[in-house]
Symmetry: C2
Subunit: 290 residues, 2 copies
């Protein structure tokens, strides 16, 4: 009754029935679920028909019919793509945007209703994040982003907050060598954000220098995504980017208060070297030749 498998199955049962009622709430707008899903995919910014079909796992015949029915309702317009007239793009009309907004309102109300029922809000949300990350693990995309964009800033904020919690005397960004954003943009470096669906769950920066090496900075994985080997994926991606940029030597600094990081570096070909900067926070320094 209480073994791990039973607990997973209990979760599955609970969630299956919840998903059922969620789907039903979408039926209130007198439109079959398939058409509603296509409308919502378009509303969420997917416009390429083939991409939507792929995302929703639909047969091309079915997809075509669903698009037609939405078009007949006056909710979407489709046009041939300029660069390839075989492909089609779909976008919402004014009425389509209204209808999409109604679905969004339903989804939001459903989510708010769920949250309102429960007093352990934060614990519940953390649990949901963890499970969503675990379920979508294979679909985590590592996107190259500007280190100043919203997603990157969110990651960095969480990263600093965590250092503040884990370092004995806290962490103050202004005392550390905050890398210049342009050093983490091509062609000097790059900044990678791990996106699970629309939620940033990790990041890493590759910072170019003028000293014959580049540095790995700001490696962070959200608590909800730990244990999925995301740190390793981020590091691999950063190293690949470095190779692309013609970088042959990487360095990084870290702190012994972050043992899992040190372990990751040691197990992936980094070797410890003497201090190479005067940043007050790090006490461990690594190097890796590509």
């Amino acid at each position: 009754m209480l073994d791990a498998v039973s607990r997973v199955r209990r979760f599955n049962r609970a969630v299956t029935s919840a998903v059922g009622t969620l789907d039903n709430s979408f039926l209130g707008r007198s439109r079959p679920l398939g058409a509603a899903r296509v409308l919502n995919a378009i509303g969420h910014g997917r416009s390429d028909v083939a991409e939507i079909r792929d995302y929703l796992g639909l047969d091309s015949g079915l997809m075509s019919r669903l698009l037609r029915s939405l078009e007949d309702e006056g909710l979407i317009e489709t046009t041939a793509r300029e660069d390839d007239a075989r492909r089609r793009m779909a976008k919402l009309t004014r009425a389509g945007r209204r209808e999409f907004a109604a679905y969004e309102a339903l989804s939001n109300a459903q989510a708010e209703g769920f949250l309102a029922q429960h007093s352990q809000r934060e614990a519940l949300l953390a649990a949901m994040d963890l499970i969503a990350s675990a379920l979508t693990r294979e679909r985590v995309a590592l996107d190259e982003m500007d280190p100043r964009c919203e997603e990157a800033r969110y990651c960095l904020g969480e990263y600093y907050a965590e250092l503040g919690r884990r370092f004995k005397h806290g962490f103050d960004v202004s005392l550390s060598r905050d890398p210049d954003a342009k050093d983490m943009r091509r062609p000097r470096g790059t900044f990678l954000v791990a996106m699970s669906d629309t939620l940033p769950i990790g990041c890493v920066g590759l910072k170019g220098t003028d000293h014959g090496y580049a540095e790995i900075k700001r490696l962070w994985v959200a608590p909800a995504a730990r244990g999925l080997r995301l740190g390793r994926r981020l590091m691999d991606a950063a190293e690949s980017a470095a190779r692309e940029l013609g970088i042959t030597l990487l360095r990084l600094d870290t702190n012994s208060a972050l043992p899992e990081a040190g372990q990751l570096y040691r197990s992936t070909g980094w070797r410890e070297i003497p201090r190479f900067n005067d940043d007050p926070y790090p006490d461990l320094f690594f190097e890796k030749r590509l």
Copy 2:
């Protein structure tokens, strides 16, 4: 992107697609999902046709057809109930039990596969428990059980473990006054277990004494179920049971290291009284007249 509602919706998306693949795994046995669900409901011990229909939310016409198709396959037998020949009972045949076992194996394999993919096993399971409890909150049943049964022993084990964690010097059952099981059985008392689906998530004991009062003992709510007001429900049920048994005075002891318990008692009509026993662990004593 990061507000509570978005996080809930991200979870919904992740889980919806996971549930979809789960359902598909059931299609491998060349039987429509509806029939498979009925077969599984019967396999899990539901035999009353009306009850199954209600549980699965099926129309009586559809239900009848699904039963017929399972019967044609030789997987189930239906008989009229002895006490009411209009109602029917369904049970598995030998072949039905084999087929049910195959579905169980599929479910277990799916759950094991999920767990095997992730290294944060315990965190993941705890998150699943929390969410499952939250989703099934309305369906939590308070069942009167023998304090020696498996479910009760599980709850008590968890309860002692938690006291061990929360008391400064740990907790040793043998030093405490472990109530006699028969004092927590009718007619002297009772023992209630809160069951969410098949998982015990809370308990409370009503222990009869020969001193003109009964005691509330072993009030426990699983961490995964806190914030759902289950403690209050358990206490209410225990008080109702006490009234039924003709008990007019209740007492309990607790410890200030469990502040949420003290708060619950104070807010539900209990008043603090002087120590009334020599148990080494409690430092707070309450009484309530019914």
